[in-house]
Assembly symmetry: C2
Homo-oligomer: 294 residues x 2
């Protein structure tokens, strides 16, 4: 047995005296942060990680799942708050390992831990972060803003994330998101968490109901094409550039080659077409991973 | 069966088109908000509410638990993000009722819903909010900053919150916190969530290890003294004023009479003494509600 107070004390030690409540005590204070971007995502035992997963990997995924949303806006992460609801299976050693792993990653990323809350449950563990960031370029990169003729890119190979266990170890594309925002500001950017087809369809819908044509041979793959299109948990960035931006991108040594590939283009007509080569073009269902409720 | 997409759509409708992802899509954007205060607290089924509690009351407690932390800083709430992890027992009607109740309360309070995420779990329901506010007075009111001789006040009667069900219906002292911060800025303020004894001991510890003397006959009670001291879930504000501030407070018609009562004073010597009258003084244990972990 141990109490919330002891855990809060351990967190305060790890976080260099800033304490779980942050500098503002009951709430954390951020002094004139300028424009800020906020996102909030949970990690649910049995959904986002299986019972028994190494705590270090749970901490990593929890953090990077949230950072990925900031990366998708072209934002640099600055601070996080956490709310941790632990099942009875988490003993003190595991809880402290979680705090330590998060503190280590936050230090490396220069992300400040500014507050949060702890609780226990008879149910399963739910770990939630709220992450704050600042736009790295002139403005945040929205999800909407596509226009017909724009070129589509992704920052890395897609698919097979769940089967390979990569969904626990992926690196949110924070540096690349920042670099794109600063050097080749995309009209639109989002992270691929629910599969290329569903996330692209959301981007097209947010831009007023446009369509797209993807070229199968140009989609970088880790797993099967099917997994890339419909499985999710890739956390690569999907972004769109004007044709006029392509030359500068292709010559930029700071951008990895995979992100220079044009995987498709935006069309005026709704729907996502897949060009399978040799004249075969199919229309994709816009399905991917979605939580099903009862 | 229904999907996350349908729920997100319903939330977008309720929130007047702002959408669950907020104006910034993958993350919510706040443009140059000035100093901001942030807090994040979960509501856990079986801990903070029992299975079967009316959804409207769950929504209310979830929101007000978070607003109470902002009130304790003398801050006016501005925006919230939510992360809702639903058990299989929550059907669509209940989920939508939660969104509707939150949207209604947010509208009334002029609090903007700016983003969040939904998931489902085989375990119990965990609803988490992150609330943002702005200091209403010249500066946020910290938890530390007590000095010997200061007077202690509370904003309302304490105790019996759990037994009476008031823990589901309490009003966070937002307006009174703002009024105090603007008109009678306390040196120190916090909300009483874990019992007067434990929360006061935290305030004394945060101020460098001071003590206090409470006068039993002056503590406003809803339930038993024991419940007021050690039970928690009252969400009244505990605050400290200089002697020189008392006269203005006592003459201010905008402050309720209960908040004008001096319930005790700060001492240089650590420990909390309770003056029970007729010369009987006892030392209080600093115990209250804390989550016990395994």
């Amino acid at each position: 047995m141990s109490s919330e107070g002891a855990d809060l004390q351990r967190l305060a030690e790890l976080l260099g005296g800033r304490g779980l409540e942050g500098p503002g005590d009951d709430a954390a204070l951020l002094r004139s942060p300028g424009d800020i971007l906020l996102t909030m995502d949970p990690l649910v035992e049995g959904v986002h990680f299986e019972t028994g997963t190494e705590v270090r990997r749970i901490a990593h995924k929890l953090l990077h799942r949230n950072l990925s949303d900031l990366a998708a806006m072209g934002a640099r992460p600055r601070a996080i708050l956490g709310s941790f609801v632990f099942s009875k299976n988490w003993d003190q050693q595991q809880r402290y390992a979680l705090y330590e792993a998060l503190a280590r990653e936050c230090r490396d990323l220069q992300v400040q831990w500014i507050g949060g809350d702890l609780a226990s449950t008879k149910g399963t563990t739910v770990l939630t972060l709220c992450a704050l960031g600042a736009p790295a370029g002139e403005a945040p990169i929205p999800r909407s803003g596509l226009r017909p003729g724009m070129h589509l890119h992704v920052t890395g190979p897609l698919g097979g994330s769940l089967a390979s266990g990569r969904h626990l170890d992926f690196q949110a594309r924070v540096e690349l998101g920042v670099r794109l925002a600063q050097r080749h500001p995309p009209a639109t950017m989002m992270d691929i968490s629910d599969g290329l087809a569903l996330d692209l369809s959301r981007m097209l819908a947010a831009s007023g109901g446009l369509g797209a044509r993807l070229v199968e041979s140009r989609i970088p793959l880790h797993g099967s094409l099917e997994a890339a299109l419909h499985e999710g948990e890739d956390y690569e960035l999907l972004f769109a550039l004007e044709d006029s931006q392509e030359e500068a991108l292709s010559r930029d040594p700071a951008i990895p080659e995979v992100a220079k590939i044009v995987i498709g283009e935006v069309l005026a007509e709704p729907g996502i077409l897949l060009d399978r080569g040799q004249g075969r073009i199919v229309e994709l269902p816009d399905t991917g991973y979605e939580h099903e409720f009862s």
